[in-house]
């Protein structure tokens, strides 16, 4: 059974059709890529699935339960972790607090425990601190744990964001342009990190990317989105040689 299943999802922003009859089947442990030119609606698809917008039509299921109408935080707690294209880090919070914050839905103490500093609350805080430190080590940012996340170098910020997404215990991880603004060196490092996450945490990954090298190397299946519609779907080899994809990316051959 598919882990994440999107059926015939359509979305309008006012009169603008942003996404048209979009389908996705993500099996456990797979890596699927979504490519397409700027403004094709890739991030909109992410936002629709993660609950930031509600699709006009269509159905979304994660592990058998319907996601339509749920708040983003509920969807996240159900097992959909994500990162953002423009790094939405919290300005005044330390790296450690970032990752601890993502454990919010796993906290077992209530509001009264927090008010009165109950023993249970302290125990839980210790537990998620240990968990967060472990994740920070996995992503090689543990040495920054007490610093403000926004003060780190760019590559490290990306890794903090990734650690934060992993702290929500996701079954599916959405990565929105994980290599945006990275040098080729950092890009190779990012590929290694994503491979590592994939193996170590056994998550399915759905990613948006512009750099074909990155997508071709990582993904088992690729969808190409143009003006809100999937024009091609297949293995990296198929996509690379698909004339429609080449047209969308490079323009028509017979230029006058």
């Amino acid at each position: 059974m598919a882990l994440l299943r999107v059926d015939n999802m359509t979305h309008y922003f006012g009169g603008l059709r942003a996404v048209h009859k979009y389908n996705l089947i993500l099996e456990p442990g797979h890596i699927v890529g979504l490519i397409g030119p700027n403004g094709a609606g890739k991030t909109t698809i992410f936002n629709l699935i993660s609950g930031i917008h509600t699709p006009t039509e269509g159905n979304i299921e994660l592990g058998g339960s319907n996601l339509i109408g749920h708040h983003p935080h509920e969807i996240a707690a159900m097992g959909l972790g994500r990162t953002f294209q423009n790094l939405l880090l919290w300005r005044h919070m330390t790296v450690l607090d970032h990752v601890k914050m993502a454990c919010y839905s796993q906290l077992e103490y209530g509001i009264w425990g927090a008010f009165f500093g109950s023993r249970h609350c302290h125990k839980e805080e210790k537990r998620i601190t240990a968990k967060a430190m472990h994740l920070l080590e996995t992503f090689d940012v543990a040495r920054f744990s007490t610093q403000l996340a926004v003060s780190l170098p760019y590559g490290a910020q990306r890794r903090v964001e990734m650690a934060r997404a992993m702290a929500t215990n996701p079954k599916v991880l959405f990565l929105d342009e994980p290599t945006a603004g990275m040098t080729p060196d950092e890009l190779n490092r990012m590929i290694a990190i994503i491979r590592k996450i994939h193996e170590e945490f056994n998550v399915a990954i759905f990613l948006i990317e512009h750099r074909l090298k990155f997508v071709m190397e990582l993904c088992e299946r690729i969808q190409t989105l143009v003006f809100g519609e999937v024009i091609a779907e297949g293995t990296p080899g198929e996509i690379k040689n698909n004339p429609q994809v080449i047209e969308a990316y490079l323009g028509k051959e017979d230029i006058h």
């Binding site: 708040h71 935080h73 996240a76």
Partner: protein, 435 residues
């Protein structure tokens, strides 16, 4: 001590550094003992010392009032302050440094509650004897403690969650009126509610319940702002909260059974110094627990980026409701205490003037910081009282000071820090001693 020294004055810096190394090994309990000693000196010898310095009486508020009224008494006042406060504090703190460190060490090994009780007990003792010398001091002290609660509670909303709420006097009014109505109805014979329903002797014991009822009333009122906050933020929410303040004020003005514009008076004298002190300590403790927990840090996540907070499983709506209700609750409790300190409430005391005062305290002290709130509330409140002889100029000096602080430190004196009582009470051993 936080103010950066100007770089040009080299020798001054070394003096400061030397002073710092001289005083650094004194633990908090040492300072508290020093303050306690100084207060005792004033309590027993104050009259005598002030007589020898040519002062008409003991300077009530660190000599500000005396000096501002009669500038010629300045040398005498300074001498008095040095002899009564400066010397005993320094001498006791420094001579008792070693035993104080040993006590701190002992307390550090035990549970933190015991250590907190010892420290707070000393602090309370000092404040008690200090305030015992004049009723004016007592009043200022109580109002300052209430101001600390107000500043902390607005810091939850304006600082930790970053919404600009203007309705704090409204919450305070709800608390003040609810608590007053309960105590007047139950425990006193007064013109508004008739004879007492319960024996007056029960009053002081049930007073906490009246305060909590006031807090709950304020928290329910806060829903009026919390629910719109799901959809609006920033300036628009600020306008809504301002509207709430005016609604509360005019509703109270037009409700005849709580006295309308005349207000209510002759509340029983329940807000004694120990009561106010205990409630304030509880308030600081609970708020500090909350903002240091991950659940409390969710407020920061909502402030810094709501979208990211949602994506990281934070229930932002619940967080907003909790924040507004929690902040309003403590404002309501503070309002209840306030009404029983002045033993009089009227709608006029919960207007824009009060709002300006609360906002000044929180922004002066520092956003997102418990320490900052305490510092802000104490300094603005004490300054407001101390500069009273200047009359109208007071309202020029304090705002100017606020502007200067905002220029030098845009987020307030002490902002974005965590208040860690355990660290604060730790022994301060010298390096070689600690080894």
């Amino acid at each position: 001590m936080n103010i950066e020294n100007s770089t040009s004055q080299q020798d001054k810096k070394t003096i400061r550094a030397r002073l710092k190394t001289f005083l650094a090994p004194v633990p908090l309990i040492g300072w508290l003992l020093g303050i306690f000693g100084a207060v005792l000196v004033e309590y027993f010898l104050g009259d005598l010392i002030s007589y020898y310095f040519g002062l008409p009486k003991i300077p009530v508020l660190f000599g500000f009032l005396t000096v501002l009224k009669k500038p010629l008494l300045m040398p005498g006042t300074i001498g008095y302050l040095a002899l009564v406060y400066g010397v005993p504090i320094l001498v006791i703190a420094k001579t008792l440094q070693k035993p104080a460190n040993r006590i701190a060490d002992f307390l550090d090994r035990g549970p933190v509650t015991v250590a907190a009780f010892v420290h707070l007990g000393l602090l309370y003792g000092a404040l008690h004897f200090w305030a015992d010398l004049s009723d004016y001091r007592l009043l200022v002290l109580k109002l300052t403690m209430i101001a600390i609660m107000l500043t902390l509670s607005i810091n939850i909303i304006n600082g930790y969650m970053g919404e600009f709420s203007c309705s704090h006097p409204g919450f305070m009014a709800l608390g003040a009126y609810t608590a007053s109505a309960i105590t007047l109805l139950l425990f006193t014979d007064d013109k508004q509610f008739g004879i007492a329903l319960l024996p007056a002797a029960l009053g002081p014991y049930l007073f906490p319940l009246a305060l909590i009822a006031g807090g709950i009333a304020a928290a329910l009122g806060a829903l009026v702002i919390a629910i719109p906050s799901f959809r609006t933020r920033g300036d628009y929410l600020a306008i809504i909260s301002l509207a709430f303040l005016f609604i509360v004020k005019s509703v109270i003005e037009n409700l005849e059974f709580v006295g309308g514009p005349r207000g209510m008076s002759s509340q029983p004298h329940y807000s004694t110094l120990p009561v106010v002190f205990i409630v304030m300590v509880l308030c600081i403790w609970i708020i500090n627990n909350f903002v240091r927990s991950t659940m409390g840090k969710a407020l920061n996540a909502v402030r810094d980026n709501e979208l990211a907070a949602e994506a990281m499983t934070v229930n932002t709506r619940k967080t907003k409701i909790i924040t507004f209700m929690f902040g309003a609750f403590w404002a309501g409790v503070a309002g209840g205490l306030f009404a029983h300190v002045l033993r009089y409430v009227n709608p006029g005391s919960f207007g824009i003037q009060r709002l300006a005062e609360i906002l000044a305290m929180v922004y002066f002290g520092g956003l997102n910081s418990v320490t900052g709130s305490i510092v802000g509330a104490v300094s603005i409140n004490v300054l407001g009282e101390a500069l009273r002889p200047l009359e109208i100029y007071k309202w020029i000096i304090i705002p100017l000071l606020l502007i200067v602080v905002m220029l030098v430190r845009p987020t307030g004196l002490i902002s974005f820090t965590e208040f860690k009582p355990k660290e604060l009470m730790k022994p301060r051993h010298n390096r070689e001693e600690g080894a």
